[in-house]
């Protein structure tokens, strides 16, 4: 696989781009791998990548029932931030954010990480207190955030109406190095590097069973036959419950639809990402010019990857109120994804009751921003049996009541 660069583009331009090779292979499964990852989304591919890069484990397959990056990695609103309240969350999200800074160069694939800054609006006295608290926590966690006043909010985002009338903007938590990235490119970039390291990214390969012997994993059954493995990582987001069931254990997870939408593209008018939790909505402008909009989750469990329109209505209403100029922009497309939500809205990166089986799930509404950190920590957990990044995110926390509750910091899907 050739290196990507402006020189490579120039070279190919003069031979009709005939020299570009596959970004990732299309291999048939081997009989046996040292490790299998189920789920070629961002988290699964990042896990495989860091297994190879950090731990020298390269006899790895990533199995995907559909097309890689086709789940929540390709459906989210691409926000990256790490201004979390609880220490374990701040650690893994900041690790991820830091890795995003260099990810394009590391993967030799432009994931377009754009630290354009994230504003989380405070529109009640209670939110002001909450975000000031977060700023104090972040200062001790090595996360650079700042509580800013309404004037600064207006400077950072001139299209915002900060005077209300219903919920005037009273301030905001500002993370200048938060931002966005191109979601598909993150999955594609990792997939390409995994493939380059000799790993097998196997698409259209659905896992139908997890095979164990004496409480230990020995392989999986798939639509492309049985495959043996010494270690198995389950990284399947909304379908975690199904796959865990195959392995014989249950998860404290609800799967619900989360929706998003984009407007038609317009010329640049919004440089920062804005999240407004009181009114329930968030928005940024993509490089293409579309306003990318998200809101809350459905109140009932389902797997349809659609959702109830009234959520779209609620979200759009909130954003028209916050950004009145979008009223005559038009919704181009709405869609949904299935997110896996835990009792404390924090993820699970954990060993499981089955020896050799590890699970990475429960990212809920905010997984995209965590992809590199999640992969880094989960790979370490799979390789070494423990990782400081994942230590607090074990399944046992639900039994012990050791919750990592971010509800204070994230009252809305993100």
């Amino acid at each position: 696989m050739g290196r990507y660069s402006v020189f490579a583009i120039a070279r190919e331009a003069f031979r009709d781009h005939s020299g570009w090779t596959r970004a990732w292979g299309n291999p048939a499964p081997k009989k046996r791998y040292d490790a299998i990852i189920i789920g070629a989304g961002g988290h699964g591919l990042a896990t495989a990548y860091y297994l190879g890069k950090n731990h020298g484990l390269k006899n790895v397959a990533i199995l995907e029932k559909g097309w890689l990056g086709g789940g929540n990695t390709g459906r989210n609103t691409t926000i990256i931030r790490s201004n979390y309240l609880q220490d374990p969350s701040a650690a893994i999200y900041e690790k991820a954010r830091g890795l995003y800074e260099d990810l394009s160069q590391e993967l030799n694939y432009n994931v377009m990480f754009s630290p354009r800054g994230v504003l989380m609006l405070a529109q009640t006295e209670h939110e002001i207190r909450g975000y000031k608290r977060t700023a104090y926590a972040n200062a001790l966690q090595g996360v650079s955030t700042e509580f800013v006043g309404p004037k600064r909010v207006k400077e950072l985002c001139p299209i915002m109406e900060i005077r209300g009338p219903r919920y005037p903007v009273l301030g905001a938590l500002w993370q200048p190095r938060g931002g966005t990235a191109r979601h598909d490119a993150v999955a594609w970039g990792y997939a390409r590097k995994c493939s380059e390291m000799g790993m097998d990214v196997i698409q259209q390969c659905e896992v139908t069973g997890v095979r164990t012997e004496r409480g230990k994993v020995v392989g999986v059954s798939t639509t492309k036959g049985d495959i043996e493995c010494a270690k198995l990582g389950i990284v399947v987001a909304g379908h975690s419950g199904h796959v865990a069931d195959m392995a014989g254990f249950r998860l404290p997870i609800d799967s619900v639809a989360l929706q998003a939408l984009v407007s038609e593209p317009v010329k640049p008018c919004m440089d920062v990402v804005v999240m407004a939790n009181t009114v329930h909505g968030y928005m940024s402008q993509s490089d293409k010019g579309e306003m990318v909009i998200g809101g809350g989750t459905d109140g009932f469990n389902n797997y349809t990857q659609r959702g109830s329109f009234h959520h779209i209505e609620e979200t759009v209403r909130a954003l028209c109120e916050t950004f009145p100029m979008i009223s005559r922009l038009k919704m181009l497309r709405q869609w949904g994804g299935i997110v896996d939500i835990t009792g404390d809205r924090s993820p699970i990166l954990s060993k499981t009751p089955v020896e050799g089986v590890f699970i990475n799930c429960g990212w809920g509404t905010g997984g995209f921003k965590a992809i590199p950190g999640s992969g880094w920590g989960f790979a370490e957990l799979m390789a070494k049996g423990e990782s400081p990044l994942t230590a607090e995110f074990g399944l046992d926390r639900f039994r012990e009541g050791r919750f990592i509750d971010e509800s204070v910091a994230a009252g809305v899907a993100h």
Binding site: Y4, R116, E264, K267, V316, R317, M325, D405
Partner: protein
């Protein structure tokens, strides 16, 4: 050149000319024109610039599928970017400007991208801009952002408003062409209630343009007759300018109606969003013609064949004087015949099929048109406009056969049914080999919860491409929908003259073996500049899934959502991968069918109507008396009542001091009030609260705590027992609705057999706190039907009767530590009672106080506040509230959770008071640091500030906080560093700063 014909145009009224402005130039059209037809009438073929290469683009289509002719409409408060000229109805004074160019439409610097296009293939941006790192954010990305986008963003607030309709119907028919009319008639005649909607301003769809006779009538006459008949039916409602935007689960459909876009002076809303629940949905959405892929197919003047004849027949406008028709099917012959009939030149029909032997072919030859079979277009050449068409054998690599001078090309690549609405709710498609298109698979229709089909298709939307077949299909579908609802339906379909039709040849590239330089100029997605070579590159690089191809090339992601490009694109992908088209599949169709304004989705809920403001019965008094408000949920509560010239801080201090020294008045009406009633109410409350509520005596109050299943404290409040079977539960202001909801959830899902009813009576009562050492004197000044003395109404008791002639319940409870009465009166007496108290308190200098004084006084007393001391991670045991947890009960919500190891960990952070050494105010939210770092390099912490105020009573800062083993460390000094790291030391003390023995509230 394009021009207005001297006659014709069934939709325009030549008697009524209309003038409009295009890029500042005044132009003229006629009533009934679209903006696109009027521009063509003025020889303005160039209507926009493409997204990526900024190539000059003319109009391609005549309807909602148009990818190129996008303009900015209006100005200032009514400016709308990215409006399709083909669906914009012309009106006097319309202002339109073209987009995505600088400095002008004709000369655009950005078009340099087109020159560089060989360096900018699909996905180029993933492969470059990698170095140096900081350049992405600061150099490359801003440049890309500026050259992307399309229209300019609006700058002003929208002047218009929007509204929503919520309707139910038996049958919703989307599409008012002949199929929709027929289906609506079939269902309507069977007795179903029918809502029929059409996205354009006209009924009949394309049949009046080129359809055969129906029931021995010209199609136009037939349409008029059926429309009148439907309008006369009481069970049929019809709306035009109403687009079926989306279909969702459970028969929910979204319609978008344009009301005044075509008549801006019309009063009322601009648009209306319909939210429909339909038992049956029929999509009679027609079909869209596909372009053909040949080099130069994006030059202005290359148009869909059907659009060319639409412009001639509907608007009396000819896109060109000499039009070459190129096709892989019969239908485009109609365009040639229409052109000829309008007196325009048709130098040739290029039919890519080897044979053309149908009736239409004969008609064309009879009309003197040269028909050349087995031929296609090698390339179209011209400077900003079609000039020469180079003809080649379809089965070739494009070697020139002959060159034909022309100013227009009418192309037809076959027809694809509009399957969007069918697909939104899960309907599946099947590939039709003969017609080379995907059509709905009736065996895999969208189904409701009980397995019943709820979306059906009618007419060409089903894939029935002749008028005769479409009418039979539509009649059958309308009847099937009615019968699914239990109605009896019968009756024959309208009859149309049979039309001869030969198979559509699957031509996806022209010519078959076009070399790279032609494929790199053969556009698939006109707006996003995706060419055949881009899709091939995606396949070559392993982006094999149709979703990968779409995302890598941006095929179908433009504002037309691939209405013209999707099928052609996936055919190219299939060929590149060497698989059959149906094996590639389609991308997911998502709502809306065409873009819907965000304002319309938002509806009337903007500005003052964004969310209801909940007002207490005393709200008006607060407003009139200068209250400084804060939002609390949907309420607005007075934060303080500054007098004129007084700062908010000073007002708060005054309110606290006056209340502590004399008497204050609090509007506590927002407090949640839930009546819980029934023989099992006591048992129910024992499960909800950590305390025992069933043993509470009538006439008494008890402070109660509510926890989540996970053990965390979620709400608190005073519970009063009203009678044997009735309790009144006070909740926090913010918690009223959610606690009410939680109670209902438990009763409906877990304890459904318990005899308990819950009613939220929050707004039925005004609740007023009379607080302070003089409180009793204030109440004694008005006549009471009960005894309010120390022993007559002891602390934590309540009485009911009349106070000052107003029915009242008086609770002797205190959240301030003072002698305090909370009086609930019926809401409509609230204001009178408030005024009465103000007057009665006047001799004592009574002051109303707001939420901040409330907070300070409770903090001085060490009372917790939900949301301050709690945050979803705190259990009552952390807050020293063990006294409020019953040891006698077997269970309550959260009990088991509170027994888990982490919950009983002695190292948990627990409630303490905090005082700075210098009397200053600790910052709210600050953390206490501990020695060392976490495994992840973060500073270790050992506590945090949960509430912090300046206490006017004590004249210094007081704070509450949660500190590791806090209650065991009284007197210890801990450090809560400022954001800049500088130390802020505070001593751990008791959280009760004021009147620790509770003497004041017990007088």
């Amino acid at each position: 050149m394009s021009h207005r014909l001297s006659s014709g145009g069934r939709l325009i009224n030549r008697a009524n000319p209309v003038s409009f402005a295009f890029n500042g130039r005044t132009m003229r059209g006629f009533e009934g024109d679209t903006l696109a037809s009027a521009l063509l009438g003025e020889d303005q073929m160039l209507m926009g610039r493409s997204f990526k290469y900024h190539r000059p683009r003319g109009v391609v289509a005549s309807g909602a599928e148009e990818p190129n002719a996008l303009v900015g409409l209006g100005r200032d408060h009514s400016y709308e970017p990215n409006a399709r000229a083909t669906t914009t109805e012309l009106f006097e004074g319309l202002e339109a400007e073209t987009q995505n160019h600088w400095p002008s439409l004709e000369f655009d610097i950005g078009a340099i991208n087109a020159r560089l296009s060989r360096f900018l293939p699909a996905g180029f941006y993933y492969k470059m801009f990698l170095w140096p790192r900081s350049f992405w954010k600061h150099v490359y990305e801003p440049f890309i952002r500026e050259s992307a986008g399309l229209g300019k963003p609006p700058k002003r607030r929208d002047k218009d408003h929007y509204e929503h309709f919520n309707v139910t119907t038996d049958v919703l028919v989307v599409g008012g062409g002949i199929a929709g009319l027929t289906a609506a008639m079939a269902a309507g005649e069977a007795g179903s209630q029918v809502l029929l909607v059409e996205q354009t301003a006209h009924w009949g769809g394309r049949a009046p343009v080129d359809g055969p006779q129906i029931d021995d009538m010209a199609p136009n006459a037939w349409v008029t007759q059926v429309v009148s008949a439907l309008q006369a039916m009481p069970n049929v409602e019809m709306r035009n300018r109403c687009m079926g935007a989306g279909v969702y689960d459970h028969g929910y459909a979204l319609l978008s109606e344009r009301i005044s876009d075509h008549a801006p002076d019309k009063a009322g809303p601009r648009q209306r969003l319909w939210k429909v629940r339909a038992a049956q949905i029929i999509t009679a959405t027609g079909a869209i013609e596909r372009p053909l892929s040949f080099a130069g197919n994006d030059l202005p003047g290359v148009m869909l064949a059907s659009a060319v004849r639409d412009y001639i027949v509907n608007f009396g406008v000819a896109p060109g004087k000499r039009t070459v028709v190129v096709t892989n099917n019969d239908d485009a012959y109609r365009t040639a015949l229409t052109l000829k009939a309008a007196g325009l030149e048709v130098p040739a029909i290029l039919d890519a099929r080897e044979d053309a032997t149908g009736a239409l072919d004969e008609d064309a030859r009879a009309a003197g048109i040269r028909v050349i079979t087995g031929r296609g277009i090698a390339s179209v050449i011209g400077k900003g406009r079609v000039e020469v068409v180079h003809v080649c054998a379809q089965d070739s690599d494009g070697a020139d056969y002959e060159a034909i001078e022309a100013d227009c090309v009418a192309m037809s690549g076959g027809w694809s049914p509009v399957v969007h609405l069918w697909s939104h709710a899960g309907g599946k498609l099947t590939w039709d080999e003969a017609d080379a298109h995907f059509r709905p698979d009736p065996d895999r229709a969208p189904k409701g919860a009980s397995g019943e089909v709820f979306v059906r298709t009618a007419g060409t939307a089903s894939g029935a491409l002749t008028t005769e077949d479409a009418l039979v299909d539509a009649n059958r579908t309308g009847q099937a929908a009615a019968m699914a609802l239990g109605h009896k339906a019968r009756g024959p379909a309208p009859r149309a003259e049979p039309e001869s039709r030969q198979v559509t040849a699957p031509i996806w590239l022209m010519p078959e073996n076009a070399p790279y330089e032609k494929r790199a100029k053969s556009w698939l997605d006109f707006q996003n500049d995706v060419k055949v070579s881009d899709v091939e590159l995606a396949a070559q690089e392993g982006y094999e899934s149709v979703e990968h191809t779409k995302r890598y090339t941006t095929l179908g992601m433009a504002t037309d959502q691939g209405k013209l490009s999707n099928i052609n694109g996936l055919a190219v992908l299939a060929k590149s991968l060497g698989v059959a088209i149906p094996d590639v599949g389609t991308t997911t169709f998502r709502p809306p069918y065409t873009p819907v304004p965000l304002g319309a989705i938002s509806g009337e809920a903007q500005g003052a109507l964004f969310q209801p403001i909940r007002k207490t019965p005393i709200h008006d008094w607060h407003e009139a008396n200068g209250a400084h408000f804060e939002p609390v949920g949907q309420w607005r509560r007075p934060y303080a009542f500054p007098k004129s010239g007084e700062s908010v801080e000073d007002a708060v201090a005054r309110e606290v001091t006056t209340t502590r020294q004399s008497v204050g008045l609090l509007d506590a009406s927002t407090l949640g009030k839930l009546i819980v009633k029934g023989p099992d109410a006591g048992r129910f409350l024992d499960m909800l609260y950590t305390n025992m509520m069933s043993t509470l005596k009538v006439g008494k109050c008890r402070y109660g705590l509510m926890c989540s299943e996970n053990g965390f404290l979620i709400d608190d409040g005073v519970v009063a027992r009203i009678d044997e079977h009735t309790w009144l539960c006070h909740t926090t202001s913010g918690g009223a609705d959610s606690i009410h909801g939680a109670m209902e959830e438990w009763l409906q899902t877990e304890w459904w057999d318990w005899k308990v009813y819950v009613a939220n009576v929050t707004e039925q009562f005004a609740q007023i706190g009379v607080v302070g050492p003089k409180a009793r004197e204030v109440l004694d000044a008005v006549s009471a039907s009960f005894d309010l003395s120390k022993d007559g109404l002891p602390f934590m008791g309540w009485v009911e009767g009349s106070l000052g002639g107003i029915p009242a319940r008086v609770f002797r409870i205190s959240f301030s530590g003072e002698l305090s009465y909370e009086i609930a009166v019926p809401a409509n007496h609230g204001r009178a009672f408030w005024d009465m108290m103000l007057e009665a308190g006047n001799p004592h200098g009574i002051t109303p106080y707001g939420t901040e004084a409330l907070h300070i006084m409770r903090a001085e007393k060490g009372f917790i506040m939900i949301g301050d001391e709690t945050d979803g991670t705190v259990i009552p045991q952390d807050l020293g509230l063990n006294w409020a947890i019953s040891k006698k009960k077997d269970d309550y919500l959260g009990k088991r959770a509170q027994m888990r190891s982490h919950m009983t960990d002695p190292l948990r952070w627990k409630l303490v008071g905090l005082e700075t050494l210098d009397g200053s105010v600790l910052p709210d939210g600050a953390y206490a640091v501990d020695e060392g770092d976490t495994v992840n390099g973060q500073r270790n912490t050992q506590g945090r500030v949960t509430s912090s105020y300046h206490s006017p009573t004590l004249g210094r800062g007081i704070a509450m906080g949660l500190v590791e083993r806090g209650p065991d460390r009284m007197g210890e000094v801990v450090n809560f560093p400022a954001l800049d790291g500088s130390p802020q030391e505070a001593r751990i003390v008791s959280p009760v700063f004021y009147d620790p023995d509770g003497e004041k509230q017990n007088v």
